[in-house]
């Protein structure tokens, strides 16, 4: 009998679920007033007593979704309910832990933890008692009068957890809380939190965590949501029925990790169906943030022993020390360029991929250039504009504006930077960073 089912039965008396999103969409207004859809029609329910993890590519709108649930952002369409009541702003009962800790540097640990209570108008003595208790429970006793900048990242995030727990939150929202910590620190903090949860030492009835780490999600969550991007939405859902504490080496655990990898890498193609040829991408496609050097290193690795051109993704990530955030963009680029196929949680080099691996540096550039001009519409578009212009020069801002029709300002800039980097490497165009001009100079 799993823990999840047990919790659900014990608390099934409550009529309305703790947290519910109904047909939530979010559109951001672009400078030229064309809406850009970030989240599309999301239905989601957080049940009593469960931990749900949200996984997806960076930029998929996971954090936006979390902020809508938190009441920090209003949805453009649809609505969010906390225990049956519509959410129109931050609600008492929902606490949040941030990626960057978000501690007030001018307040001591105690001051930071007390802040939420102070805002609720709790008396000074009561405040002190509860804050000391929360600091104690999260393992920070002795540091009450320290300032955040004196503490390590792990300790700072503990303060952040104490600040969240001291208000006795009904629901805890976690926005990649472990991503800025080193592996060991993250694991310790995660286990401590899980202990508190499993032993019911905190009154919290539900946790939603946005994560970029597959193992972390499988270790914590009772349910994993896979987010697709452009626009963001839940593309798949996975239930994890393993009792806590989970052992990451057990076959059952590995199998789920494999499944998650499969779900995460069966993109592009919005519906994420496996084995289907990915639908063609457009100029405004959110190109993955993958550096070329890493790409060639990975391809080289894949041709060597023990992979011989084929690898199991979790295994590869583990062996080559790649985080999910690093691996996913690389895989996407390999697929985009037709250098590898990814399916069922495995990667296999294509013929082109093998040729690329065996070539010398100059020929690699050529293969890369050909692949870019064949498969990446944005690169094709830039090259065509430059070819057509009499001076073979065009300001980068011109392409940026085009991209902003499809992407947010930041993302447009990132995508343009990415394609410029690839293009410079492939020598299909040149770029002058001072004047921000693309050209066909020197070739």
């Amino acid at each position: 009998m799993s823990l999840v089912a047990e919790r659900v039965t014990t608390s099934s008396t409550a009529a309305a679920p703790p947290l519910r999103a109904i047909a939530v969409s979010k559109t951001y207004r672009t400078p030229d007033h064309i809406g850009r859809l970030v989240l599309e029609n999301i239905d989601f329910t957080l049940h009593e007593g469960e931990i749900v993890a949200v996984l997806g590519k960076s930029g998929a709108g996971k954090s936006t979704f979390l902020r809508i649930l938190a009441g920090l952002l209003p949805p453009s369409l649809g609505h969010v309910e906390y225990r049956g009541q519509p959410i129109t702003g931050p609600v008492r009962g929902i606490a949040m832990v941030f990626q960057s800790f978000a501690l007030f540097p001018w307040l001591t640990v105690l001051g930071n933890v007390e802040l939420g209570l102070e805002a609720q108008g709790v008396s000074a003595a009561e405040r002190r008692r509860r804050a000391v208790e929360a600091i104690d429970i999260i393992g920070l006793d002795g540091f009450e009068s320290a300032y955040p900048k004196e503490l390590s990242g792990g300790m700072q995030q503990r303060v952040s957890f104490a600040r969240a727990l001291v208000v006795n939150p009904d629901i805890l929202l976690l926005d990649e809380p472990f991503s800025q910590l080193d592996v060991l620190t993250a694991e310790t903090l995660r286990n401590d939190l899980l202990d508190l949860w499993v032993e019911r030492r905190i009154p919290t009835k539900g946790i939603l965590i946005v994560s970029h780490n597959i193992e972390e999600a499988v270790d914590m969550a009772d349910r994993i949501l896979i987010f697709s991007s452009d626009p963001g939405g839940i593309s798949a859902e996975l239930t994890v029925r393993l009792p806590h504490p989970r052992s990451p080496d057990s076959p059952a655990f590995r199998q789920i990790v494999d499944q998650v990898y499969t779900l995460l890498t069966t993109v592009p193609g919005r519906d994420g169906r496996r084995g289907v040829k990915p639908e063609p991408i457009g100029v405004g496609y959110r190109l993955p943030d993958a550096p070329v050097q890493q790409l060639s290193a990975l391809v080289e690795k894949l041709t060597e022993e023990p992979y011989n051109g084929r690898a199991d993704l979790p295994h590869l990530a583990d062996e080559e020390n790649l985080t999910t955030d690093e691996l996913l963009p690389l895989l996407e680029l390999l697929q985009l360029l037709g250098l590898a196929n990814v399916s069922g949680g495995d990667i296999e080099l294509t013929g082109a991929g093998r040729r690329y691996a065996e070539a010398d540096m100059l020929s690699r550039k050529q293969i890369f250039a050909e692949a870019l001009l064949k498969n990446v519409p944005l690169a094709v578009h830039i090259r065509r504009v430059l070819d057509e212009r009499p001076g073979h020069r065009a300001p980068a801002a011109r392409f940026l504006r085009e991209l902003e029709d499809h992407l947010s300002e930041e993302e447009a800039e990132r995508v343009l930077d990415t394609v410029i980097n690839w293009g410079r490497h492939a020598e299909i165009f040149a770029y002058d960073d001072d004047d921000r001009v693309l050209s066909l100079e020197n070739f």
Binding site: L72, T88, P90, V91, A95, M96, P105, W106, Y147, K149
Partner: protein, 578 residues
């Protein structure tokens, strides 16, 4: 954890017993209170326009005069703070308000400080008839105009750049807007505010000296203070008296530094998120006194309690405290209407001002004033170039020697704070003695006080150069010229631009004082827009004052937009070290 510096924001009411440190603190506080009371009494004294206030050149009267000057300075600092907080908060929080407030601030910043004095003094005197307070207010207002704008800007910038996640955290944990302001936005703005206060006070000393001698409808009122003392000494050609005045200003500025800014700077470091390096973690002695003495704990917990009470009162008054999303922008139609209205009002003001000036001033004269502006601009450009040629090499030389730099920094800071106009008489005496051409030799006065900003920033820029870069440069065997062009110049460029902008801005302001200088009955005058403004201020000609100030503003704005702004962008984009 007793060893932490920084006034703890959480006070412990049970431990408010007095201790030995209070023996030091108590007299200081009581003394300060008595001073304020005494100064207030003096300021409120009876006075009718036309009376002449007695000024004595007796050096023993100087401490009293210095006190009056210091109090004026302190009053204007308080007024500047009181102005900056609401102004910056409003500009940062309301899109609509921002559209008016920020350009206004930009223009105010470029209006020469002494211009305000001539425009406003009559109004202030009318406000308090029969009292000296009106004249005092005019002087304080003039100092205020030299201090407030950059403080306001720094606060506005800080309010705009509060980290998003901190704002979200504040909202998640239900801080009221009042709490959010005092617990998040203000603390975030404290360190840059303190820096700007230091700069402001430096500028203030210059103008406190200039603004104590106020001209109203053709006659000069001398407010008791160091500035008036010097004005009298100049009129009576008393070099010894000027020496005494220099000495007392030196002491005053040192005290300000020790009692106010060193402690404030050290204290403000706790509001910064990044960890300090060890070497900065020293507490100035006065901060130590303040932190150890219970008296200040008492004061602090009093202030905090007051703040909480206010918060509760505000919360109680706002009947609707349901949580809400941050309100989105107003409807596009409203925004467009607002913009149009704003544009209308602004153009009406310009037309009216132009008509007002045109009524009394001929087109030729307007052209002449523009030419005068160009002359002053030429002077400033030449001066900045010369000052750069001198101070950049010196600054780099000092900056490469960290121990020397550490000792020189406070000296340069002090020089920048010292009111340069105190030395003007000495220069005049020299010009007269050697029969030099005032058109050329009065010019250096403009940059006398502001050149230090170049030196100061170049030293700072050089010390910030990473050791690795220096090592690589010597490893590559870069020779003199190449080293200057490829290593040090790009490295210090951003800092240099900052220094040069400050120096140029200060020089525009100083031109009003520096282009006309007196020594007894002798008046030396250079041709320039500063002299033009001074001349018609003395004559009390509002149309020509407005014309002069307007043209000066225009020049400053154009220079800022066309030259400095671009250099700043270049520096920010290409030559940053981080």
């Amino acid at each position: 954890m007793e060893q932490r510096w920084g006034l703890p924001l959480i006070a412990w009411p049970s431990r408010l017993r007095p201790n030995l440190w209070d023996l030091v603190a108590l007299p200081l506080v009581l003394g300060a209170l008595a001073l304020v009371a005494w100064g207030g009494m003096k300021m409120g004294a009876r006075y009718e326009v036309g009376e002449s206030l007695p000024m004595s050149l007796d050096p023993w009267r100087l401490p009293e005069y210095a006190l009056r000057t210091v109090l004026r300075m302190a009053a204007s600092l308080v007024v500047s703070l009181a102005f900056s907080f609401p102004y910056a908060a409003l500009a940062a929080k309301s899109r609509q308000a921002e559209k008016i407030l920020i350009p206004v601030l930009d223009i105010l910043q470029s209006v020469p400080v002494l211009g305000f004095l001539s425009i406003t003094v009559t109004g202030f005197i009318a406000l308090f008839p029969g009292r000296l307070l009106g004249v005092e207010c005019a002087a304080i207002f003039a100092i205020f105009t030299s201090q407030a704008w950059n403080m306001t800007f720094s606060l506005y910038q800080s309010f705009r750049t509060v980290p998003v996640e901190l704002v979200e955290a504040a909202r998640m944990y239900h801080l009221s807007p009042w709490q959010r302001f005092w617990r998040l936005e203000v603390p975030h703005g404290v360190p840059p505010l303190i820096w700007n206060m230091m700069m402001s006070v430096s500028a203030g000393w210059f103008f406190v000296v200039a603004s104590e001698a106020i001209t109203v409808s053709g006659q000069t009122i001398l407010l008791p203070g160091v500035g008036s003392y010097i004005a009298t000494a100049i009129a009576e050609r008393d070099l010894a008296a000027i020496g005494y005045a220099l000495l007392i200003m030196l002491i005053v500025i040192l005290l300000y530094d020790q009692l106010l800014f060193r402690p404030l700077l050290a204290w403000s470091r706790k509001f910064r998120g990044d960890a300090d390096s060890e070497e900065y973690d020293v507490r100035p002695w006065f901060l130590l006194v303040m932190q150890r003495a219970r008296l200040f704990d008492l004061l602090q917990s009093g202030v905090l309690a007051l703040n909480r009470a206010l918060d509760r009162a505000i919360t109680a008054m706002s009947w609707r405290r349901s949580p809400a999303y941050d309100t989105g922008p107003a409807s596009p139609a409203m925004i467009r209407f607002f913009d149009l209205a704003l544009l209308g009002v602004a153009s009406a003001a310009v037309v009216w001002l132009f008509a007002f000036v045109r009524e009394q001033v001929s087109g030729d004269e307007i052209g002449w004033v523009f030419l005068l502006g160009a002359l002053t601009a030429l002077r400033i450009i030449v001066l900045i170039v010369i000052a750069s040629l001198i101070w950049v090499p010196v600054g780099v030389w000092i900056g490469l020697r960290p121990q020397l730099a550490e000792r020189v920094q406070p000296v340069v800071q002090f020089l920048a704070a010292f009111p340069a106009n105190l030395v003007f008489p000495a220069v005049v005496v020299l010009i007269l003695k050697f029969e030099l051409n005032p058109e050329i030799w009065l010019s250096p006065l403009m940059i006398l006080g502001t050149q230090w900003y170049i030196l100061f920033n170049v030293i700072a820029g050089t010390t910030a150069l990473p050791t690795e870069l220096k090592l690589v440069a010597s490893n590559l065997g870069l020779r003199r010229w190449l080293w200057w062009r490829r290593v040090i110049w790009p490295a210090i460029f951003p800092a240099y631009v900052t220094g040069a902008v400050t120096a140029a801005g200060g020089s525009w302001n100083a031109s009003i004082v520096a282009e006309v200088v007196q020594w007894g009955n002798t008046t030396l005058q250079a041709t320039g827009i500063g002299a033009y403004i001074t001349e018609y201020t003395a004559a009390g000609d509002p149309a020509r004052i407005a014309l002069g100030i307007g043209v000066l503003c225009l020049y400053v704005l154009v220079f800022n937009r066309l030259l400095w702004h671009r250099l700043y962008e270049l520096a920010a984009e290409r030559l940053r070290l981080d």
